[in-house]
């Protein structure tokens, strides 16, 4: 204490407080100041050869990129482009590695922009984009979906890409299939870049059929009732009603919208008048089918099975998943599932076809269509960079590279090549059998409300909690109320 001789305790405390406030003030001033780092990269005249080979399942070869020959002159300081997606190699394996390789190719060949990939969990991307736009620091481009385009566009979270399309001399609408392109529109404006379209196919596990003593014909039946009859023989239900193996599961691994499409529910939403009406004959037939389905196999048990194994992606990235361990006989599967099955259960003997029409249905569609898209958030720092990435990714060269690894139906006509069909057997079926007849529901702000309420009310009907008429009235009211509320705030 000799150091503090002559200084009172009060003075020491006062001095400490003043010093603390002084440091805090300096920190606040420093934090409020904006700093800008300008990166100027010199383009070296050095050819770059890079071949990326990933895990030996399907080697991916990256074309040699020669910067020297195609060295465009940078227009200014190189901008960082923040990209959000869920393609993490740790969880997506080869698809993630291919994605990172494509980013490297873009960065190597583009002197104006450099993509910085920020991995976000898939389920968190939309809420995080929303809050980041509200906070004023959104990414420059993010992976979006048709299903969420309406909500994000209605709220002003994403910006239109029409100005970018007009300025981009390389853009050609003819490169894209009409279905996926149509799903980038919101109220007449293009709000995204289409990447690939997800559709639903009917999967039939021949190994499980063999285990259950069921014979699968070479030509699968062309009506739904006959398909379900085969699937009904593949159930393994315990004495207490617990479903151990599920024979026919059209909606366990999808959102339920594909089944709504199969039953022909295209007319529920009228874009011109912005009105929704679920009180239709087709919707009634859909719920009647679900009610019967619940009566046949146990509504609670079906809902419990879906909750445990279905929509949550149980065991998707391991070999323990229900689709890989002969727990599912027949199922409506989104097209990306098939590459997972080929990875996790490569020896599984299965067949597939489009989902066939119900005898009682009308307005039949093979599937709903859910296009994967890239959107540029409102207020993005480098919207031009976001466009550069999105349009680069949908160029024929990159689509071919990604599609071979991802086996997701592509959108470019130029991809309908032998190598595209060889990459995954479902690609050809999607292109020829499914795409031409998919449900093209326009993007609207209450799509999510429609989807979640349809699922919940379907379950309520199956459980006998509501009648079909009550459910349809409630569905109509819930979605129309949401449409009205959003149009007031839009």
């Amino acid at each position: 204490m000799s150091f503090f001789r002559g200084i009172s305790r009060r003075k020491v405390i006062r001095g400490s407080v003043m010093g603390t406030f002084g440091v805090m003030g300096a920190a606040a001033i420093a934090g409020c100041g904006e700093t800008q780092t300008v990166e100027v990269e010199k383009i070296k005249e050095v050819p770059v050869d890079r071949i990326v080979t990933v895990e030996k399942e399907v080697p991916v070869e990256v074309e040699v990129v020669k910067i020297v020959e195609a060295a465009p002159v940078p227009k200014g300081p190189r901008q960082e482009v923040e990209l959000w997606s869920g393609f993490d190699p740790a969880t997506h394996g080869q698809v993630g590695l291919v994605y990172d390789a494509i980013i490297e190719i873009f960065n190597a060949g583009n002197p104006d922009f450099k993509v910085k990939h920020v991995v976000q969990p898939w389920g968190q991307i939309i809420p995080k984009v929303l809050t980041s736009v509200a906070a004023g620091n959104p990414p420059d481009v993010f992976r979006n979906w048709y299903a969420t385009l309406g909500v994000t566009a209605a709220a002003g979270v994403v910006q239109t890409v029409e100005p970018f399309i007009k300025r981009d001399t390389a853009w050609d609408d003819g490169d894209f299939l009409e279905g996926p392109m149509s799903q980038t529109y919101f109220k007449g404006q293009r709000m995204a870049v289409p990447l690939s379209g997800i559709v639903t196919l009917m999967y039939v596990n021949k190994d499980m059929a063999g285990e259950m003593g069921v014979s699968i014909p070479d030509d699968l039946p062309q009506n739904l009732e006959a398909m379900e009859e085969i699937g009904s023989e593949m159930y393994d239900i315990a004495d207490d009603g617990t479903i151990n193996k599920i024979g026919f599961a059209p909606t366990m691994f999808t959102s339920g919208m594909s089944w709504a499409a199969v039953w022909g529910n295209e007319g529920v939403y009228d874009e011109a008048t912005d009105t929704f009406n679920a009180n239709t004959a087709e919707m009634k037939q859909l719920l009647e089918w679900h009610s019967g389905y619940g009566d046949r196999y146990g509504a609670e048990e079906l809902i419990a099975w879906k909750g445990t194994y279905g929509s949550g992606g149980f065991g998707r990235f391991t070999s323990d998943g229900p689709l890989y361990t002969n727990m599912v006989g027949m199922a409506g599967l989104s097209s990306w599932w098939f590459s997972d099955i080929d990875k996790q259960a490569p020896d599984q003997n299965y067949v597939f076809d489009k989902v066939v029409a119900p005898s009682a249905g009308s307005g039949y569609r093979t599937s709903d269509l859910n296009t994967n898209i890239y959107s540029i958030p409102t207020g993005a720092n480098s919207a031009e960079g976001g466009w550069a990435w999105a349009s680069f990714l949908t160029s024929p060269e990159q689509m071919r590279r990604k599609t071979i690894a991802d086996a997701v139906p592509a959108i470019r006509k130029s991809l309908d090549t032998p190598s595209y069909h060889e990459a995954s057997p479902v690609n050809g079926a999607c292109m020829s059998k499914v795409f031409p007849n998919t449900w093209r529901l326009p993007s609207f702000g209450s799509y999510n409300t429609f989807r979640t309420n349809l699922t919940t009310l379907t379950e309520s009907v199956m459980l006998g909690q509501k009648t079909i008429d009550e459910a349809l009235i409630e569905l109509t009211d819930a979605v129309q109320n949401d449409i009205d509320a959003k149009s007031e705030s839009g």
């Binding site: 509200a134 207490d240 809902i303 445990t308 459980l463 509320a485 705030s489």
Partner: protein, 292 residues
Amino acid sequence: MKRRETLWAMLFLSPWIIGFLGFTLFPLVASFWFSFTNYNIVNPAGAKFIGLDNWDFLFNKDNVFRQALGNTLYYALGLVIIGTSTDIFLAMLLNTKIRGRATYRLIYFIPVLIPAVAGALIWVWILNPQRGILNFGLDMIGVNGPNWLGSIHWVKPALIMMAVWGSGRAIIIFLAGLQEIPNHLYEAARIDGAGPIPVFRHVTLPLLTPVILFNVIVGLIFSFQAFTEPYVMTQGGPANASMLYGLHLYYQAFENLRMGYASAMAWLLFAIILLSTLIVFRGSRRWVYYEN
């Protein structure tokens, strides 16, 4: 001199005051205002005053709201009743003089230290109908365990069970309350020939009632706001059977982008919690015993 002292006092208090104004009071007032607008979080300047439309929707048009409120009341009452009884029982066990008592106390407190999301994911596996350890154990004693998170009847009890597992904090508070009970009262009761149950009924429980009151009120407040467990484990399903109020509010705010409506829901929740707390306080005059 007095003014200088006042100024210094304000200076010391200013960080808290600034924080309170900026991070508590302002958002409180703002959310009350937003409950009368169509604010969608993305465009604050574009929020229009719509009067009581949000409140009308809440009470007359939102069918999920009623189910969510009912589920939350079920959850809150179940948790408070079962949780309080269990916590008192465990606190009494942990108050007995046995070897390794400190270790047992630590074991019961560990769930409090586990992050909520991690705990919820662990319980998803514990409750798995085919591969979970809980049904495995029940199977060993000849009981057929249900599909806990997939059943409309069992999903809420499963959430309550998980919440009781994590109530180590309440156990510690009960333990402190038990240790405050004067020993001479126990001695007097024993001298009068009272057995363990009469001692519990006439000595322990009455003197523990202030602590019970505290834990009941805190338990009600937190259970009405439950969000993490249903969000991680069930997303409100199956068939909205585990859709709790907090989860429904979150979906309205961040998935439906109806922040104004969500603000109205939040204020209603505040009113419900306040009312239930006041009811418990008023009723406590009949059953809470203070030594003085």
